[in-house]
Amino acid sequence: MPMDNPFIFVENVSFGFQGLEVLRGVSFSLSRGDFMALIGPNGSGKTTLLRIILGILKPSSGRVLLMGQDLAQFTQWQRIGYVPQKATHLDPYFPASVREVVALGLLSGKRFPRLLTRQDEAAIGRALERVDMKELRNRRIGELSGGQQQRVFIARAIVNGPDVLFLDEPTAGVDAETQARFYDMLAELNRNEDLTIALITHDFGIITKHVNKVACLNQRLFFHGTHEEFCSSAVVQELLRGEHHLVCHRH
């Protein structure tokens, strides 16, 4: 067990698929209230690492502790919010209303037969209010714009009042203005609700503006530290040179 009892603890995690090494000895930790960006080139294993942390994939070696509990024994999934990458590739004809989509987020905290109560309806209303989508609660999810759909998926992820929110490239294919508004909203949730956030992103602008921690992955973890350390790290500058233009500034 780690000494300082971090919120998320990843120790020496490796993963291979069909003879290919995807992750090698990845270790890092997150404390409560951290806002971490996980960055790296395409195919660097970011999504795989996230899927391992969430228990979707099993690592070939290493371990993950969520809130001090080993992943194999972890049952408090209502404390975890997740916005998957494909949230931005939604079938426009899927017959689910905004309200129905957000209600799915309540499932993890309920016992069989998991019927929705008045309190649940109120929680759905609050979650939609926090992402400024309450007025569209009866609209079909496929009728919304990409940015609005993202807000609904955030509402689904936070409707249970989770302690941690994981997001996998939530702004892929969305215009810059919508991205900026979306990240402002995440930062507000991080600040006001003490929500721990881990985010996979290619948008380095967000890193410099909102996050307090950065992890840089390319099969192995090249860097894990604070935003300031990240900006001054020669290793990171070398790794990203030619591929991304890195601008570090805070508002």
Binding site: L54, I56, W77, P92, P95, A96, L104, L107, N138, R140
Partner: protein, 272 residues
Amino acid sequence: MQRAFLAGFLISLTCAILGVFLVLRRDAMIGHGLAHVTFGGVALGIFLYVAPILMALGVAVFSALGILKLKEKAGLYGDTAIGIISSLGMALGIILVSAAGSYNVDLFGYLFGNILAIDPLEVWMSLALALAVLSAVALFYQEFVFLTFDPESAKVSGVRVKQLDALMAMLTAVTVVLGMKVVGILLVSALLVIPAAASLQVARSFKEAMLISAILAGIAAFCGLVAAFYLDWPSSGTIVSISGVFFLIFYWMRLRRKLPQGSQNVLGSSAD
């Protein structure tokens, strides 16, 4: 005739509700595949002198789980796994029917359906099975919707994905065997797919989709049986044809609406 109405209505309703999940999960062809397997089950029943519907039920459930295992263990695509199991089921059926010398009218009834000739025991059995399927869907409604909408997030939320996939496959198998009595093995997948596909043209929520699908299926079963009775048409073909007309009407209704921008829709065509 009353028995036919009761059984036909209930079974069509069950197929239509389950069909919404299957179509949205892109599992629509599992109904077709399991129907072929059901032929093997019926043939095995005839060969062993066991009630064909019971044998078909056992074989269909076993095959549905087999399709899941093939997908999971052998890493096959769903349609490939369905193709393998359904062909083997059909092949087994042909061999057994030939061995039993049963190329006769019994088999014709199973292939093309004959709801008007349903006996009281079969009505009670259909009633019990239809209620069991509908109860399971009602009890696990939220889980099934989550699994259909976003299986990965469902797993992260603690939903038991494997067990519910198996339950859905078994419910489909039971429903296919029930539908066999109404429209026969050759058309049973139509009961699962067409009302659901029609409802998805216009539904704005999941519950609305299930409600519209169930209403369409009920109307198609009622009108189909009445038309078949008075026009002396085969009930199976009439019920399915009426469902087809509903689909065309609802498709036309969708075309009259402004289409949302997007890529692939649930029916596979481009919305752009």
